[in-house]
Symmetry: C2
């Protein structure tokens, strides 16, 4: 790796990985950079530039070996082993995420779910026992969890994040509609549904 | 407007708008670019550069008039009036989105929800009647809907999108884990939860 790849490159690696998984499932051995780029919705030059951050892939005239490139991307993305993740906040969205079966398939395992009010969260009929948020820091420490999904109201988000980061959380997928303040070693990806809609709304007029 | 602002600028306008709404609720009249930038998690130069795409705001030494800047951003983002949106796909995620009360507050109104199997979708106990996906194109045409939220399996996504775009949809918030092919006048924002997690996972190692 010559220098650190940009965040956008890492996002695109996930897309390439998706496309390769489909090819693997269809018993395709090799794929040209043109075909892989098209499936991923990018230009071939972009694909080659993204992969170049990680080394030399593919053979001129033959393209990429699908299973080798896929295995490499799994390793690079940290999805070659199940990665434990905690979920904090089991409201409507949190409960939907617990019911969503797709995480494990992608290499992520919900290790535990927490809520400030575990009794009413448990009543949401989710296939998962909900623990009290007070137990969260100890659980993170004991199980060396590094990733958290945050789906709590904006007003409580910063306090909960402070506790989670103190306990060892390094990466947060944030659904709370607020800007979180975190130390430099912690990374936050925010998904704000209303902001996504506003962004679309701007462009249709 | 001198030239088209980049996508990232439009995303940040939403964040500024959030911060301004909080200030308004607290009866704050003016805010400095430093304070607004800090609340939004950006540098003051970034804030000033973003706003400069739209004109001249603020008074040197006094800062921004909160209610005027907020009203301007509402207008720019198209959230000054309720924008109708349809939801396609009422599975776990789609049902959670219907239960999520936040859209209307942000200027979006779910005008209708569609599913390939409306009977089982209606059984999900959502506060909304679910229509058959066959009725979707006619509804979009009749009500001049421009925005759609897509929460269906990847395998059916492209066909449904083709129908929606033919009927007049111009902007899609896509939760289906697939790359959609759309004509140039249509904009797609994709939210892929597994990709967000993979991206975090890369950075914690």
């Amino acid at each position: 790796m010559t220098k650190d790849p940009p965040r956008k490159t890492i996002y695109r690696l996930s897309t390439y990985q998706r496309c390769l998984a489909r090819l693997l499932a269809n018993n395709v051995d090799t794929v040209s950079s043109e075909a892989l780029a098209k499936a991923a919705g990018v230009k071939p030059t972009q694909l080659r530039k993204d992969l170049a951050y990680f080394g030399q892939f593919g053979t001129r005239g033959l393209g990429y070996n699908v299973s080798m490139l896929s295995a490499f991307l799994n390793e690079a993305l940290g999805t070659s082993r199940l990665q434990p993740v905690i979920l904090i906040g089991v409201g409507n969205l949190g409960a939907a995420l617990l019911r969503y079966g797709g995480f494990q398939k992608e290499g992520f395992e919900i290790a535990a779910a927490f809520d400030l009010d575990p009794d009413s969260a448990n009543a949401r009929n989710v296939p998962f026992p909900i623990r009290s948020a007070r137990e969260m820091p100890a659980f993170v420490r004991e199980h060396h969890v590094k990733m958290a999904i945050l789906a709590i109201p904006a007003i409580s988000a910063q306090n909960v994040v402070n506790e989670a980061v103190d306990a060892g959380i390094q990466a947060i997928l944030n659904f709370s509609p607020t800007v979180l303040q975190v130390p430099g070693h912690v990374i936050v990806n925010s998904v704000d549904l209303a902001v996504e809609l506003e962004n679309l709304s701007y462009f249709i007029r």
